[in-house]
């Protein structure tokens, strides 16, 4: 307890100094992605988009290498790809059930791999630090962590939201979908039943609100964690002279490696849980 009471003020002081150092000196990672090609035909290409492309290309190249010569006795890349896919399949299968995971695994597997790769690519030195400074002193990074862009995280969350609605309707039907949200849970009779109908209707409205908040929460959770991590690393580097700038950030790189994995897991895990919660009845019927 004493240890934490001593550590907490130190941490607050550290982050306060990071914040002030970032704000005052050096360049600060902006909240938004920018186009390094502004004023050209490619102005719709943002610096985070380039990272997503790189990550996608890496994953696709790896998958092509792994599936080029598929054999029943796996070797090399195929062995690793099979291990990864089978582990993820079992992991999501435990949440979604056998029927649902067979149908939806491609989304969860691909999303996990993409988020993880994008997160790790964002930690490569140069990402967020290499760029140009214009005449107004505004720094524009050539590359930016893919998930440090709300456009990317929102695109993933909204894609999931659309798929969630489609999968839910096709699995349990519109009637069960709305019954799941509004129908009273449990058996009631008489006045109690009327009261419960009113209560569960109001709860259903709250549930609808929470359903619409889910993609927002998913987007901001991933964006906030990755952007916060990058900001922390940059802030720590700004605390010391440039020749040893890597030193204070070094321990936090290991933490960011963990955060990158955890955030990929959290995003996909929450998506899987949302889907499982809605399709629970449908899955039972399938069994």
């Amino acid at each position: 307890m004493t240890f934490f009471s001593r550590l907490f003020p130190l941490l607050v002081a550290l982050f306060a100094s990071i914040s002030s150092a970032s704000a005052a000196g050096g360049h600060q990672l902006p909240l938004y992605a920018e186009s390094p090609f502004e004023g050209t035909f490619f102005s719709w290409v943002s610096n985070s988009m380039i990272m997503v492309w790189l990550a996608a290309a890496l994953i696709i190249l790896f998958c092509r290498a792994a599936t080029k010569k598929l054999s029943l006795v796996p070797q090399g890349a195929q062995n690793f790809a099979e291990w990864l896919i089978e582990s993820l399949y079992d992991f999501f299968g435990n949440i979604l059930g056998e029927h649902l995971v067979k149908r939806t695994f491609w989304f969860f597997g691909a999303t996990f791999m993409l988020i993880l790769t994008v997160n790790y690519l964002g930690l490569i030195p140069g990402v967020g630090t290499l760029g140009t400074t214009d005449s107004h002193g505004h720094f524009k990074g050539l590359l930016r962590g893919g998930n440090a862009d709300l456009n990317m995280t929102a695109a993933m969350a909204i894609t999931f939201f659309a798929l969630w609605i489609f999968w839910s309707f096709s699995e349990i039907g519109a009637k069960n979908f709305f019954a799941h949200i509004f129908a009273p849970k449990g058996k009631f009779s008489g006045v109690m039943k009327v009261g419960m109908v009113v209560i569960f209707f109001l709860v259903g409205i709250l549930e609808i609100v929470s359903i619409f908040i889910r993609p927002v929460a998913l987007s901001f959770r991933l964006f906030g964690n990755i952007y916060g991590g990058e900001q922390t690393l940059e802030g720590l580097m700004a605390l010391v002279p440039q020749s040893i700038a890597f030193l204070p950030a070094l321990p936090f790189y290991f933490m960011e490696l963990l955060v990158g994995l955890v955030q990929a897991l959290v995003f996909t895990l929450l998506c899987a849980v949302f889907l499982a919660l809605m399709c629970d009845h449908g899955d039972e019927e399938h069994h």
Binding site: I59, E82, M113
Partner: protein, 179 residues
């Protein structure tokens, strides 16, 4: 971190929300298309073939297991069959041995009986021959004895004996010898 978020919140409140976070249609739609394309490509070129091979391997393992059970069953059946055959062969062999033993016993008995019968025949023939020889010898002896008695009597009495006397003396002598 808290201070960064607080600063961000203040900044967002000052400017428009979307402007603060750089959310705009071109970037958003481009990222959306990126994501959907990545999903599609990974589904087609990674998950489908790898899951296919995993499924194929799972099926092969299941088939292998089923075959193993079948082979084990066949092995058990063949073991049973082998044991039954061995038992039958053993019983047959025992029966054949018993039959051979009985047959040998019967043959031995028969041969022994035949040998006994032959021996008996030989013995009776020998007895018969001995008896005949004895009778012949006896007859010859009697004839010789009679001739000797007649000769002796003739020499003692000094007279020539006629055939009737010889016959009588001979008969008496033989009778006295037989007595």
């Amino acid at each position: 971190m808290i201070l960064i978020l607080a600063e961000t919140g203040t900044e967002a409140a000052k400017q428009g929300f979307f402007e603060t976070f750089g959310v705009n249609w071109p970037f958003f739609i481009a990222q959306l298309i990126n994501f959907v394309v990545v999903l599609f490509v990974l589904k087609k070129f990674a998950f489908t073939p790898i899951q296919g091979i995993l499924e194929e391997r799972r099926n092969r393992i299941a088939q292998g297991e089923a075959k193993l059970v079948e082979i084990e069953q066949q092995l058990a059946d063949s073991e049973k069959e082998k044991a039954a055959l061995l038992e039958k062969a053993n019983a047959d062999a025992q029966r054949l041995i018993a039959e051979a033993r009985d047959s040998a016993q019967a043959l031995g008995d028969k041969k022994a009986q035949e040998a006994t019968a032959q021996a008996q025949t030989i013995l009776s023939k020998a007895q018969e021959a001995a008896r005949a020889e004895r009778a012949a010898m006896s007859a010859e002896l009697k004839q010789e004895f009679g001739r000797l008695v007649v000769a002796t009597t003739s020499k003692v009495t000094g007279k020539t004996l006629d055939d009737a006397d010889q016959q009588r003396i001979n008969s008496e002598a033989v009778a006295s010898v037989e007595a």
